[in-house]
Amino acid sequence: MAGRETLPGRVWKFGDDVDTDAIIPGRFLILNRPEELAKHAFEGVRPEFKDQVKPGDIIVAGENFGCGSSREHAPLALKGAGVRCVIAKSFARIFFRNSINIGVTLLECPDTDRIAEGDVLEIDEAQGIITNQTKNEIYRAKPLPEFLMDIVRSGGLIDFARKMVERMSREKTREKGREAE
């Protein structure tokens, strides 16, 4: 984990309003596995992406990344492709939720115009610090709200929800026990 945090990654640069149909076209939504979806990521708009993307690569974009459909297949395709994180000026709401929920790292940073295709970035997620090794620059990302950090710390929403279900079922058992008394 510590190693992963400092490993530099290569940038794929996108513009504003990258939509979920661009990330994964509708005809592939019959697929559910991240690695299968990854084979078609950005197929319509960046045909070379799926063949050339390497684990640890980073997507950098402008405003409103992930707008459009609620398909979780979009962040799953990026996860399957081994994308290390997405850095954008802003994210569309459902894409943002979905990514947090399945453990795809997102960083909101106003300086993405300074980052170019092919730049090599080093990311410190915990501190929200992005180091551009190619340009020798440092940018700061907005930290996540505490509420969301709880989910991230739990390892995503599935684990967070499982803990909650288990707590609720323990409480129920205790209540039943009290009633029996």
Binding site: P25, L29, I30, V45, S70, R97, N98, I151
Partner: protein, 432 residues
């Protein structure tokens, strides 16, 4: 305590009221809450991942049951009838899930598009907090619910807990006054608003639509406006319920009692109020490849088209089909143009059938399909090939949305689509 007083003193938006009830405590925009879900809807595309996630959450539980089977609705609409083996397998998996969980609100391949079926079958009433694993879930804002799209993992958690986390959104108010001109409809209104604020103009916010024009619209046309809130990044598209809403709901939920407080208070805080008078507005068209790339129709008139699609959760209701048939007025579809009409639900299809619309469309040379999402989702049938141009009454024109990434999709009202179908090029419906 002071905070509570401020919150309770009649300055809440309708959205804040709904979240206050669902969270069990007074809350206002910006608060993070764990809120009770009133309805959770999933379909054949996003459902399988949600079900997998649900069982993953429940893996250590002996009793792997959803929180409340009565509050869950499952529908098949995106790939119906199954158009591939993968789709058929997804359907099998979801049928087993509804069976195992005792979910009675299940609509197999025949009922129609989720956002039409949900309100139509009485699953949504004003003031509810509704989630759906589909981005156009915001459509139910048209009947005064707070309804929002979520992903499959969120849906998995909702199945297990009956609760989800939310940030209570600020509200962007659209005050739309005036009176719509001849052959100008709610689709033109919402395209205008989206073009105005942009694809992220309402990001993280609830849209609330009001004003003379919105009040004058019937529930069917309001659904078009609420449906497309997501196209400006909105989390919901709420319209204050009124007598028209009451009539619509009572036909489906006889025991429904309206709550006249289900509206934004006089002193409610909006992030902004945008005022419009759209009396003079001509029909609007969204041009490739973004929904906010909106122009007055005269800017694109004469653009040759290959395919017209009238349907979808945005504009596939009986009223939409009626408008289209009236504009066509018995004239045939232009040579070289394919016209596909898909009523949004079985109910709407039956209404169109009884009114003779299906016959009119077929006589004109159009193809009328059974209710489903059709070409709108771009993964099933009715796709556009490279270089082709489509005009659609649906909600998205992203590159590749309706087939080839080298195709071009324009969005307009059913009237614009019908006029264009008979002329073979984008045509102002007021001119035919």
């Amino acid at each position: 305590m002071i905070m509570a007083c401020i919150i309770m003193s009649g300055n809440l938006t309708i959205t804040e009221k709904i979240f206050s009830r669902a969270a069990g405590r007074p809350c206002q925009a910006g608060d993070y809450v764990l809120a009770d879900i009133d309805r959770a809807m999933t379909h054949d595309i996003t459902g399988p991942l949600a079900v997998e996630g649900f069982y993953e959450i429940m893996k250590n539980q002996k009793d792997k049951k959803v929180w409340d089977p009565e509050k869950i609705v499952v529908l098949f609409d995106h790939q119906v009838p199954a158009d591939s083996l993968n789709a058929a397998q997804n359907h099998i998996m979801l049928r087993k899930f509804v069976n195992d969980q005792g979910i009675s609100n299940f609509y197999d391949i025949f009922q129609g598009v989720c956002h039409q079926v949900m309100p139509e079958m009485g699953h949504v009433t004003p003031g509810m907090l509704v989630v759906g694993s589909d981005s156009h879930t915001c459509a139910y804002g048209a009947i005064g619910a707070f309804a929002t799209g979520i992903g499959s993992t969120d849906m998995a958690a909702a199945f297990a807990l009956g609760k989800l986390w939310f940030r209570v959104p600020e509200t962007l108010k659209f005050q739309v006054d005036g009176r719509l001109g001849d052959r100008v409809y709610s689709k033109d209104v919402i395209l205008k608003l989206i073009g105005d604020v942009g694809a992220d103009g309402a990001r993280y916010q609830a849209c609330e639509y009001g004003g003379e024009i919105v009040r004058d619209l019937d529930v069917s046309q309001r659904m078009t406006i609420s449906n497309m809130a997501i196209e400006m990044g909105g989390k919901a598209g709420v319209i204050e319920p009124d007598r028209k809403t009451d009539d619509y709901i009572r036909q489906r939920v006889p025991e429904y009692h309206p709550d006249r407080d289900m509206k934004s208070d006089e002193g409610a805080q909006f992030s902004a109020v945008r005022k419009y008078d759209l009396s003079e507005m001509p029909p609007q068209v969204a041009c490739p490849h973004n929904v906010d790339n909106v122009v007055d129709i005269d800017r694109v008139e004469g653009k040759k088209i290959d395919q017209v699609f009238i349907g979808s959760c945005t504009n596939g209701r009986f009223e939409d089909l009626k408008i289209a048939a009236d504009v066509m007025g018995g004239r045939p579809v232009a040579k070289g143009v394919r016209m596909i009409v898909i009523p949004a639900s079985r109910t709407e299809y039956m209404k169109a059938l009884k009114a003779g619309l299906v016959e009119q469309f077929m006589n004109a040379g159009a193809m009328v399909e059974a209710p489903c999402c059709g070409p709108c989702m771009g993964g099933s049938f009715g796709l556009l090939g490279p270089g082709e141009v489509g005009l659609s009454t649906s909600n998205r024109n992203f590159k590749g949305r309706q087939g080839s990434p080298d195709a071009f999709v324009y969005l307009g009202s059913p009237a614009t689509a019908a006029a264009s179908a008979i002329k073979g090029c984008i045509t102002d419906p007021r001119s035919v």
